[in-house]
């Protein structure tokens, strides 16, 4: 009996011994930051990083919301979730004065409607959702439009993101509507279009849309550009194409939750990520374009000119950025359930 009491006491008294050490809790997308960057940060600052990952904005949001922004110090939500979380008071303002590398940020991506003045968010990387295909099975000249996904030779050969906004978004685009549509009739039209695409869809991939392409299960589909980039590194026949109707674009930002306990360290980390050489390292690993203008100048020509990472500005202009659709998400959800149950 006495032995375990001694153990408990030892444990209780040992806690203060850790107190001198600084910690930083990071919550990020899977495969979204190279380990070397985290190690470099720990070596430079002596701050111990505790790293956790998520695979959807929704699961990240639920967790942050439930704990009222406590438990994590830096999180990486996408545009429309920054908007939502800011509105709901889940974010803590970011002190631009504390960021010595702030001036490297690309002004094109700053001061957007989802966070005017970037009071609560600092852009991390940006990217697109467009067409990917395997050159061995699909001729490049036949992949120019979202409508090409409907071609009969793709029967049971497509991979789609398991994301209702993006899949129904494609349906909206081919009907000539915005991907941020809130009108139920238009969302219904998108649903009707996607329903006719179902026979071609082999898999909805939530964890890693590049896998079905690499495994030769799918010949084409809709994927994020970084997934296509990573797949092409492994298997050069994978190509990426921007459809003529326009791709879906998004920005992922770094934010500090309102309840974060290590805000100073969080600022230190954000500043570290803004270092141009670190931004280059991140981009080369994950294949998404950094929101860092100086970093782009530092990149080798081959990377800088890779349209998979850096689309033509014309393509960006044609495309659309996702925003929060509010309660219309319930309409999307309902059609999504109908798609998945074959009703």
């Amino acid at each position: 009996m006495k032995h375990w009491m001694i153990l408990v006491c030892l444990f209780l008294f040992s806690v203060p011994a850790f107190a001198g050490e600084q910690h930083l809790y990071i919550y990020n997308w899977t495969e979204y930051m190279p380990d070397e960057v985290l190690t470099a940060f720990q070596e430079e600052t002596g701050i111990k990083v505790i790293y956790a990952t998520y695979d959807s904005n929704e699961s990240m949001y639920a967790k942050i919301k439930l704990t009222r922004g406590k438990g994590y110090d830096v999180v990486f939500p996408s545009t429309y979730f920054v908007h939502k979380m800011r509105k709901e008071g889940l974010l803590s303002p970011i002190d631009h004065e504390a960021l010595t590398h702030f001036q490297h940020l690309d002004p094109v991506l700053m001061d957007q409607p989802y966070d005017p003045g970037n009071e609560y968010s600092i852009p991390y990387v940006w990217g697109s959702t467009a067409l990917a295909y395997n050159r061995d099975q699909v001729a490049p000249e036949t992949m120019t439009s979202w409508k090409d996904l409907w071609r009969p030779e793709f029967k049971n050969r497509l991979v789609m993101n398991d994301d209702l906004r993006e899949v129904l978004g494609v349906g909206l685009i081919i009907n000539g509507f915005s991907v941020n549509e809130t009108d139920p009739d238009r969302i219904h039209a998108a649903y009707e279009s996607i329903r006719t695409l179902l026979p071609n869809i082999r898999v909805f991939s939530g964890d890693s849309p590049k896998q079905p392409l690499l495994n030769l299960e799918a010949y084409a589909g809709m994927v994020w550009n970084g997934e296509a980039y990573m797949a092409a590194q492994e298997f050069p026949s994978i190509e990426y194409a921007y459809p003529k109707e326009g791709a879906i674009f998004w920005v992922d930002s770094m934010v500090i939750p309102a309840g974060a306990e290590n805000k100073a360290q969080a600022h230190q980390f954000i500043d570290f990520i803004l270092k141009p050489e670190i931004a280059v390292q991140v981009c080369e690993y994950i294949g998404y374009a950094p929101a860092n203008r100086t970093a782009v100048d530092l990149m080798p020509e081959a990377v800088k000119n890779n349209p998979m990472i850096f689309p033509d500005p014309e393509e960006v202009k044609k495309g659309e950025f996702q925003t929060d659709v509010g309660d219309a998400i319930l309409v999307y959800q309902r059609y999504w359930e109908r798609l998945k149950t074959g009703n």
Partner: protein
Amino acid sequence: MNERQRFKFIAVFLNMGWFAVFVLVPGLMVIGISFTTRDTATFFGLPVTLAQYRELLDPVYAGVLVQSLVYSLNTTLLCLGISYPFAWLLSRSPGHRRPLLLMLVIIPFWTSSLIRTYALVILMKANGIINTLLMKAGLVSEPVSLMYTDFAVYVGLVYSLLPFMVLPLYAVMEKMDIRLVEAARDLGAGGFQVFFRIVLPLSLPGVMAGCIMVFLPAMGLFYVPDLLGGAKTMLMGNFIKNQFLTAMNWPFGSAASVFLLLIMGLMLVIYFGLSRRFNRYQQVP
């Protein structure tokens, strides 16, 4: 209180406390939330309503339920078909070899079932182990489509849940008095009659326990149809997850969970009813 009593008290108290905090309280919360209204700012809010349950009657959701029931039922039948002869052989194998054979059933389950599901992907993908072997052997000229089919989903579900069927079956079969089988044979019963009149009735409690232990979790293993079936169907597990995460509709997700709980409760009631009747039947001399 002496040492032994104290130990008993602590052990029982810890267990009950654990269940109260991590099972009972969350369960009651789910039931409570199912009567509230969706509110994106606070997850759920007033007024208190039965609207969520009314909404569940919509044909779309009936479709989700039917799909889940069909998958679970087929998985249960497949598990039963595979496990029954296996458990029988296991229970009739020499005593010194049984622990080893049982270990072989259990060892794979020391690995997370998610990781084992990914392992199945490596086996079944178009350029995976099975297809490479088939092509090398010249049996097929093009990879066979295994992944993202119902076949793959059933392989995953059956593989994940098999021991839950094997173990209860083994437990009853091991205790079965083999002399009853011998007596039946002496009295002229054929193999068919021995099975249906002796072995099957005696193993029925194991069959029922196994079926419940496979059927219920099969409804909830949402990542198996997601990873192996390509997320093309929606089962109750996925549906509830989506209601909570994507639609931010906690009350509706809770109502669906309560509904699922009720179905499971109903099955348990049937199970206990049957096993009580069965026990009475056994006691008749």
